[in-house]
């Protein structure tokens, strides 16, 4: 999704090189989860 306010894990990882070497399998789903929670909340305000 092309938006200032939504980021995928891949994009986030690219922006945060300090996460290199940290446990991605635990971090990635969590970071993505809050992005999606916010998306569903915002769109839900218009449904």
């Amino acid at each position: 999704m092309n938006s200032k306010y939504y980021i995928t894990w891949e994009e986030y990882k690219a922006d945060h090189p300090k996460l290199e070497g940290k446990p991605e399998q635990a971090i990635a789903p969590k970071i993505q989860k809050y992005e999606d929670i916010m998306f569903n909340f915002i769109i839900g305000l218009f449904l």
Binding site: M38, F39, L45, F46, L47
Partner: protein
């Protein structure tokens, strides 16, 4: 396995069979009355119990105990706390305690181009502060308002989820998961351009309407996804605007992105339920084209014609007129349920639901009496 756990498993199987187009063991039954109804029926204050959901739980418990149903009778309740924190104009509590959607407009016609270029950004930056007025402020306050509202939203829905799990465990009920989304045209109409606005847009700037529908389609698809395709659940689309526009406008503006959305969700492995509000009888041929085993709950129409045209390919539901429960005799109400079963059950894929939700009690108490009688009847006699 306990009795209630076995009952729940049986109920889950009814819906798994139904959603995959197999004929279930019996007709699944959903109580069309909601948590708002239960709150009022059992004497709680409607406004208070939506603010303090702990006050709703005993009403829900009694409701599940006294009224037969396969699914949890909660409905699509909107807890008021997060709306209040956001300063909502879009969803508002009326004087009777019911959360409602008054006609609002979040976007002006001259703003279509910006919306089309980046709809999610435009919604966040421009539309949200207009319809959720506590966000119309400096960035620091705005961040805090959003944080508080999101917390309230998550807290209230978490409590509802826990309450749901408790009654489900106690009574052996099931709750298919629901991902709410909309046809792009409806999304554009409901809160963004408004009913009045979109009616004018169709005639004045039709190309922009089409482009805006295409622009929001990916948002509607993403919103309609469930956490996975294995869980029992469906994408849920309440359909709004089609009955209010001409056939030519439907074909050109409503249908294309609506069809793409349903197809994309089905392709991705999700079940799709359409709540077909008002009168879609002139659009049945279009509905036929949707992916096989789309669940179609009708508010209005001729059940016989709908069954003939759509009953083999799709999963039909709805039609039971809930106002009859208020005005009719017990015999008339049961007769109506029998009539629908006779028409629908032979097609092997009928789900008993009301034509719409019952959200308010009536002074005579007829609705509750007749509702119980009808639910009992369909539970006992709903065979294919």
């Amino acid at each position: 396995m306990t009795d209630t756990a076995a009952l729940a498993k049986e109920r889950e199987q009814l819906f798994r069979d139904l959603f995959s187009g197999k004929t279930p063991k019996r007709v699944p039954v959903t109580n069309p009355a909601t948590l708002e109804f239960a709150i009022q029926y059992y004497g709680e204050d409607l406004a208070e119990a939506q603010w303090d959901l702990t006050k709703a739980e005993s009403a829900l418990d009694k409701f599940c105990h006294e009224f037969p149903t396969d699914t949890t009778p909660i409905g699509s309740i909107r807890p008021p706390a997060y709306y209040q924190l956001l300063g909502s104009k879009a969803i508002v509590m009326g004087s009777g305690g019911f959360m409602q959607h008054p006609e609002v407009m979040g976007m002006f016609p001259e703003e279509y181009d910006d919306f089309i270029a980046a709809p999610y950004d435009f919604i966040i930056e421009t539309i949200m502060p207009r319809l959720y007025t506590e966000l119309d402020t400096d960035p620091h306050k705005k961040a805090m308002v959003l944080a508080k509202a999101l917390q309230a939203h998550l807290d209230d829905y978490a409590f509802i989820g826990q309450m749901r799990a408790r009654v489900n465990a106690k009574y052996g009920l099931v709750s298919p998961a629901v991902a709410l989304t909309e046809a792009p045209f409806d999304f554009l109409a409901d809160f963004i351009r408004s009913f009045k606005g979109i009616s004018s847009d169709l005639r004045r700037i039709p190309d922009k309407v089409s482009a805006a529908c295409e622009a929001v389609l990916p948002l509607m698809f993403k919103k309609g996804k469930l956490p996975n395709t294995e869980m029992l659940g469906y994408s849920f689309l309440p359909l709004h605007m089609a009955p209010y526009i001409r056939n030519t406008d439907f074909e050109k503006f409503y249908w294309p992105t609506f069809k793409k959305l349903v197809e994309a969700l089905a392709e991705a492995g999700y079940n799709v339920q359409l709540f077909i509000e008002h009168d879609w009888m002139r659009y049945l041929d279009f509905l036929y084209e949707l992916p096989e085993n789309t669940i179609m709950r009708f508010e209005y129409g001729d059940p016989r014609v709908v069954a003939e045209k759509l009953g083999k390919k799709h999963i039909i539901s709805g039609f039971y007129p809930i106002t009859l429960l208020q005005t009719g005799t017990r015999e008339q109400c049961i007769e109506k349920a029998k009539e629908l079963l006779d028409i629908m059950a032979p097609y092997g894929k009928y789900w008993f639901q009301g034509d719409k939700s019952i959200i308010s009690t009536d002074k005579t108490g007829n609705t509750a009496k007749n509702l119980r009688a009808v639910l009992e009847y369909v539970m006992e006699n709903g065979t294919y």
